[in-house]
């Protein structure tokens, strides 16, 4: 195995793998990607993998829309022979207060500027055409976008990794990066459980663990781990009007629930959580999640839960990602802080990073993602996030 590369990527989640692929695609494939466990074993493989374009800020909507276009043919894009499981059964977003409904109207304007086909749904006449058995008590309004949906997070990651490998990227799994090596203000490489590797550029995509690595060279990244749990039921026949039930999501009631093409329902709620790396599952979550979701969708009461798990959100102060070019160790880039929606924006974020590193023109300004924004106050604010 080689000991020196042009670029070392730390983290084999969707972010690390997509960046490896986008760089390799641009002719830079002398890359080593290092993952502590197996590919997708971090937040990526624990996520709901929901993909929505119904965002409230131009920035998030742009990232999500352009990423969705890539998810729509990720297999072809990467040459992967598996199935990435994209299912565009739509998202029904429900508003539970007048204020939230007003916000949804503004969000629709943003979405329409970007060509997203989202629209309000009449609660009395039409909502049943999307989710036949919804209990509309306490719901003020709803919007729908057919092109929203979800994908298989394992296969999407494997697809990017496959594409990257085909182009010459080396991937080392079950290997932990123990420390970053810097000298004279420049990054030099990493020390791992399988020895040292050198590179003049290190891209730190270790999600909730990224700030800890960055801190070794003196970079302060204000991102904190927060446990989020999910559960899955046994598979049942499609419960949507023409296939799996669309995603139903409420910011106010803080839940999401979707049916996978395979028939199982995957769901989660936002709980109040302390800052912690704890990813143990709790009984409280099982009961609360089922309680909250059965109120809106009583028809799910008969479904049996087969598994629950937890993962970490990498929370940033404005709940949007940070792309930080180190001032202490030139050549180190830290990318984290996706705050629970990193899967759906990863494809476009990887392009943003790769284009910047390859001096290509981009409509999006990568500097806006710097952690400097917490000093200057130019935050990336998003009104609609769970």
């Amino acid at each position: 195995m080689k000991k020196a590369y042009d670029i070392i990527i730390v983290g084999g989640g969707i972010v690390g793998c997509s960046i490896a692929f986008e760089m390799a695609k641009r002719g830079h494939s002398n890359i080593l990607l290092i993952e502590r466990g197996y590919l997708s074993g971090g937040a990526t493989g624990r996520c709901g993998a929901g993909i929505r374009q119904q965002w409230g800020s131009v920035l998030n909507a742009t990232l999500a829309v352009e990423s969705t276009h890539i998810f729509e043919n990720l297999e072809e894009y990467t040459g992967y022979k598996g199935n990435c499981g994209l299912n565009q059964a739509g998202y029904l977003l429900i508003a539970c207060t007048e204020k939230e409904w007003d916000q949804f109207q503004k969000n629709l304007e943003v979405q329409h500027q970007l060509g997203v086909d989202s629209y309000p749904v009449d609660l009395e006449k039409d909502v049943y055409k999307y989710v036949p058995f919804i209990n509309t008590d306490g719901i003020y309004g709803a919007t729908f976008c057919q092109k929203d949906g979800h994908a298989d997070p394992f296969h999407c990651t494997f697809a990017y990794a496959y594409g990257a490998r085909q182009l010459g990227v080396d991937i080392l799994t079950y290997t932990e990066v123990l420390s970053l090596k810097a000298e004279g203000g420049k990054i030099k490489g990493v020390s791992t459980t399988k020895g040292d590797f050198e590179a003049p550029m290190v891209i730190n995509c270790a999600n909730a663990w990224a700030p800890g690595l960055a801190a070794q060279v003196g970079d302060e990244i204000p991102v904190f781990p927060e446990r989020h749990q999910a559960l899955v039921t046994e598979p049942v026949a499609p419960m949507g009007p023409n296939g799996p039930m669309p995603m139903v999501m409420s910011f106010h009631r803080k839940f999401y629930v979707q049916q996978s093409p395979h028939g199982s329902f995957i769901m989660g709620i936002a709980e109040t959580e302390p800052v912690s790396f704890n990813i143990r599952s709790s009984w409280q979550f099982l009961e609360e999640c089922c309680g909250v979701i059965c109120d809106t969708l009583p028809a799910l009461r008969g479904l049996r839960v087969v598994r629950q798990w937890a993962g970490l959100y990498d929370m940033s102060p404005d709940r949007n990602p940070i792309i930080e070019f180190s001032k202490n160790a030139e050549g180190l880039i830290t990318i984290c802080g996706f705050s629970g929606h990193g899967f759906m924006v990863a494809p476009r974020t990887a392009i943003l990073v790769a284009k910047h590193l390859c001096n290509e023109q981009d409509d999006l300004d990568i500097k806006r993602f710097s952690a400097d924004r917490y000093r200057t106050g130019e935050l990336l604010l998003e009104p609609s996030v769970v």
Binding site: F154, E234, H262, E287, C290, L300, G302, R304, V305
Partner: protein, 93 residues
């Protein structure tokens, strides 16, 4: 024919499919579970974990104890959402 043997009954994964993903480079039970869904069905891998572990142990020549075992995830037995929802309501009042 032997390769049509079912390894994971819940998700219909045959030995042929298992050997296929191993040939593609998936090396551990954790990876195979994500690539094929083996072990994600209602029984949560009670039977197939052992069978996959045996296969991996044979192919890679490592002892069974060293084949990386995935975590068992709660609930250990399937339980209905309604039962859980009612437990939540009771706890809340």
């Amino acid at each position: 024919m032997a390769d049509q043997i079912l390894i994971c009954r819940c998700e219909d994964i045959t030995k042929e499919r298992l050997l296929e993903v191993i040939a593609e480079g998936y090396e551990t039970i954790d990876e195979i579970k994500r690539a094929t869904r083996a072990g994600m069905g209602p029984c949560q891998g009670r039977t197939c974990r052992q069978l996959i572990a045996q296969e991996l142990s044979k192919i890679y020549g490592v002892p069974m104890e060293e084949v990386l075992m995935p975590t068992f995830r709660a609930p250990v037995k399937p339980i209905s959402m309604g039962t859980l929802a009612d437990a939540h309501k009771k706890g809340g009042e």
